[in-house]
């Protein structure tokens, strides 16, 4: 296990000064071509790769970007990880993945530790409160996903719009009483969807009953399903696909036919939504594009030649209709 070769080794091997070696490799035309060839050949032969650490120290930029997610376990974030990874790779940035463990403290600890080390961060579904998020956004180039911060660039996925679409879809199938199985109170998306549902419900002449909040995990779908049955609805919009999977599990367990007796709509279209039977009708969120867009915004801010200014990218969603939604059953009046 030998120490990696440094610029000093390359310089020695080609008989020039370190500064010349550096320029030969990074500043085309700055040194005589014959010298440059010699240096490049030596570098190749030694297997030289510049130390990102050394570079970072002298340039003040590390060419690393962190992605903070509350929970790497959640398939929701897989798409975001993919998107940011692809975008960062395209510009040769290193991708640091941080699991904030759903905890405000862990998230702040990670930000503090990473601030001197990475050039910027993408915060997906941050658990930080508004004040702290705003404070951090002044200290550190960052872009949020699904979490608007004043005067800060961000990516929003318009699941609220999709929710309206989904309700219209259910209304057109004859559903008149629909549940919304809500997510965490702290969720920005959840708040927006509630608002949209209230107005859409009025417009469409549908009763929407709000159930929850539920923790968006498959296990918690049981409680949500039971609440739906008790609330006497014929369809349910779940906060996300995981919750919807759990609802499907529980309905199957209780022998409730989907979509015959109950229609189920998820949100996000994560991996697996087309694996369940019946396939899950869901509001497809372009998560990979969201991650890509977030990284793109961040890279733009990091580029000093870039115009600047804050941008908010809002990505549209669309409803993917699969087998879990169908015409409303005849209402049984008790």
């Amino acid at each position: 296990m030998t120490r990696p070769p440094t610029l000093r080794d390359v310089a020695a091997a080609s008989g020039v000064a370190i500064s010349t070696a550096s320029r030969a490799l990074t500043k085309p035309g700055r040194v005589n071509e014959r010298t440059a060839v010699r240096v490049r050949e030596a570098a190749r032969q030694l297997g030289y790769a510049p130390s990102a650490t050394g570079r970072a120290l002298s340039s003040g930029r590390t060419r690393m970007v962190a992605l903070l997610v509350p929970d790497v376990t959640n398939p929701y974030f897989f798409g975001i990880v993919r998107g940011t990874a692809a975008r960062l790779r395209a510009d040769g940035y290193v991708h640091v993945l941080v699991d904030a463990e759903e905890s405000v403290e862990a998230e702040e600890r990670a930000l503090r530790a990473l601030r001197p080390t990475v050039d910027g961060a993408v915060l997906a579904a941050s658990r930080l409160d508004d004040d702290r998020l705003t404070a951090w956004s002044h200290e550190f180039p960052m872009v949020t996903v699904n979490r608007p911060v004043p005067d800060q660039s961000g990516v929003l996925v318009d699941t609220a719009g999709g929710t309206g679409q989904a309700l219209a879809h259910l209304a057109s199938l004859g559903h008149r009483r629909v549940a919304y199985a809500a997510g965490p109170r702290a969720s920005w998306s959840d708040r927006r969807r509630r608002a949209v549902l209230r107005t859409a419900a009025k417009r469409l002449g549908v009763d929407v009953v709000f159930l929850g909040p539920f923790v968006p995990r498959r296990e918690d779908g049981a409680a949500a399903a039971d609440a739906c049955l008790h609330a006497d609805v014929t369809a349910v919009l779940a906060f996300d696909d995981l919750l919807a999977f759990g609802i499907l599990d529980r309905l199957a367990e209780r022998g409730i036919d989907v979509p015959g007796a109950m229609s189920v709509v998820g949100c996000d279209d994560v991996f697996g939504a087309d694996l369940v039977r019946p396939g899950l009708t869901t509001i497809a969120a372009p998560l990979e594009r969201a991650g890509h867009a977030a990284a793109d915004l961040l890279l733009g801010r990091l580029d000093p030649t870039h115009p600047g200014g804050t941008v908010t990218v809002e990505l549209p969603t669309h409803l993917v209709v699969r087998g879990s939604t169908g015409t409303a059953p005849l209402r049984v009046v008790r």
Copy 2:
């Protein structure tokens, strides 16, 4: 957006030299407690966090570890990512995620670029050939997953053993002619499973027909399913769950009852295996544990006080029986 505070700022604020500030924060007892308190207070007030870059340069260690996967998209790697992330986080290491794009060149490029920058790497299912892998293993502390390298620590998941179990399971259900829908020729796991299947088939009195190789993607399950039907088998062991999902899709499309007319067994038990209907019987690989173990091995090697020596951890698998396997149909002799 202010420059993060450095040790110099802390030293100035507390009226001591940089070296004293450094020691006050990192060498308990080395400086007078009264002085140390002053320094710590200044650090706290300024929001000081040590620069990993500066540390790395002086110590030669970056406290970063890279995880190279061929394709972040594949749910197989989600578990590994989770496991390594958790283990690295526990020791305060930073987790660098690299997608090698299923390409030997990209993988080597990443290794070359990362060598001076990270302390070590976990290579999951490397696409590198043996020679290059061996060469790299001499240059760079690394641990492989499912890819044995001579004189190098690694983690192996015994899916071959699980395959034997799965075949026995099928035999006990009366299957007498079973297909193996193979994965890529280059796969080490695939080669081992073939060997195990050959001997197990003899012992159990089962005919195993080898089909493929198939690309382990859901889309390629269609070809695998058609090949199975043509080969006149009553059960199929798929290289992995993704392929099995695709086989299930195609069988459903062609109206073949699972498990009535055909039993299907997957491998890995990825996210989603219990979402399909019928649930997929599969060889459960402890992927999160594998990632955890790999990171653990690597961290051990990086610790200078550690005994040393190379270790190979072999993790057992077990068969998870769900709905996709059942008793063999009566053979139709044509």
